[in-house]
Amino acid sequence: MERTIRVLVAKPGLDGHDRGAKVIARALRDAGMEVIYTGLRQTPEQIVSAAVQEDVDVVAMSILSGAHNHLFPRVMELLKEKGVEDVLVIGGGVIPDDDIPGLKGAGIAAVFTPGSPTGDIIEFIKKNLKRKA
């Protein structure tokens, strides 16, 4: 049987821009995935805890406030602390190109900036799942 892909869509930090996160949530739902949306203003601790309890395959974070260089790596750190290594982590939002290599170095598999077609995002997820589908 084909496995259903479960994705946590989260907004870390104090950033209130949630349109992008909601667009992504709906696009992934329409691609047949189960999306757990945790709402605004999540701490990295809350995000990691929810990812564990929900047994998601993907953590997808959206930041438009500029705090990505701190928050994304912090989530990766906490995941590692909990021994969670089979979850694909991706990010998106208003993120300068110059910051992307650093984020990838920290373990964020891909970063999608404004204008990214949702089809590309869906395809990336399907191709890069860490657990066998």
């Binding site: 259903t4 999306v35 709402g39 601790e45 809350q46 929810a50 309890q53 929900e54 909990k82 021994g83």
Partner: protein, 375 residues
């Protein structure tokens, strides 16, 4: 983490990852879950299973969040299963109940899991009952299940929960018709949420009136066990319907047990109906009293022995459904399909009639079963 790392010991030790993965295995009906579920079996039966149901947007998630907070304050470990619908077209889902509960995400005494219905009708997901058993065995004192927003017929929750909280709100329509008969009958505790809005008092009155009428008519079957229990305790089982009998001879122990149905100021001292509690989930108003009533219901069930009989009835129903499921999968095997096609041809050719064909089918299935058990 590999699926094979999931064990009863890890689940019992409060390992959220193992618990979460086991629930995923249940969701996709992975046969390897069974060994773990069997190993957990001995530890179950202790949790109070509470269902929260009601129309879309009534505030079920917000209430659940507050219930969790209150129960944590009472020193209890709490698990939540929150169900949202899957899209019938894509199979995808947005599970948003958790948004309201995220303040508990980092509390080790709380486990929250969102489930999509994955095509199951009835307000729950197929995985719900096995997931409840896992969380029970994992040591959570209360397991709260939030159903999808229900309309008129999604009443699966009564097959799982010890106590069903039916949430309604002002402004649903002209009257309580919006959540009609089938759904209204399943409440053990009634909650009128959004009591900060106009018309809450009226909803309370309408629910009380509906309950009184139902009890008088003997129609509210969900309440009957409690009347029977009370009658049995008093030794007058002859009056099983019990709704209109005198209650003068009630002893103090019984009064405790039946607190939740007798404490109602209904204007009819002989009526014993479920409580109706007003809440404002957003501010937490009325949550303490709501939890008190939920716990009083459990106490009443336990004191009368009806906790056991309710669970027995629910399990019997679930076993029946499990057996039916096995028969259905049996019928989907190639050999069964062939037998079915043959029988159909005989019926079409007027060789045998439809009922003979059914009998022949039943015999054939019993034979394969016997062959399987002796093999």
């Amino acid at each position: 983490m590999d699926d094979s790392a999931v064990s009863a010991d890890r689940v019992r030790a409060g390992d959220a990852r193992a618990t979460a993965r086991l629930i995923s295995m249940i969701e996709r009906e992975d046969p390897s879950r069974l060994a773990v579920l069997k190993a957990l079996h001995a530890y179950g039966g202790k949790a109070h299973v509470v269902g929260i149901t009601g129309p879309p947007g009534a505030g079920k998630s917000t209430l659940t969040d507050k219930l969790v907070g209150d129960l944590r304050g009472r020193g209890r470990k709490v698990a939540v299963i929150a169900v949202d619908p899957s899209s019938p077209f894509t199979g995808g889902a947005i599970l948003g109940d958790r948004i309201r509960m995220q303040r508990h995400a980092t509390d080790d005494g709380v486990y929250i899991r969102s489930l999509a219905t994955r095509g199951h009708l009835g307000g729950l997901s197929r995985a719900a009952s096995e997931a409840v058993r896992v969380l029970d065995a994992a040591g959570y004192d209360d397991v709260i299940i939030e159903t999808v927003g229900v309309g008129q017929s999604e009443v699966d929750i009564v097959r799982i929960a010890d106590t069903v909280v039916l949430v309604s709100v002002p402004g649903l329509g002209d009257d309580i018709q919006a959540i009609k008969a089938g759904v209204m009958e399943i409440g053990d505790v009634f909650c009128v949420n959004k009591a900060d809005k106009d018309g809450a008092e009226r909803v309370v009155r309408e629910i009380r009136a509906m309950l009184e009428t139902a009890v008088l008519n003997g129609a509210a079957t969900r309440f009957t066990p409690l009347f029977e229990a009370r009658s049995a305790l008093r030794g007058d089982a002859g009056n099983a319907g019990g709704a209109t009998e005198a209650v003068a001879s009630r002893g103090p122990a019984e009064q405790g047990a039946f607190h939740h149905i007798t404490a109602q100021a209904t204007g009819h001292p002989n009526l014993e109906i479920p409580p109706v509690v007003k809440t404002v989930a957003e501010t937490g108003e009325g949550i303490g009293p709501l939890v008190d009533e939920i716990k009083a219901h459990e106490a009443a069930l336990a004191a009368t022995g009806f906790l056991r009989s309710r669970r027995e009835a629910n399990l019997a129903w679930e076993l029946g459904r499990g057996a039916a499921q096995r028969v259905l999968s049996e019928l989907e095997r190639d050999e069964s399909r062939e037998t079915l096609a043959e029988l159909a041809r005989s019926v079409l050719d007027r060789g045998i009639d439809y009922y003979d064909a059914l009998d022949a089918l039943e015999d054939a299935m019993k034979r394969t079963q016997r062959a399987a058990t002796t093999a």
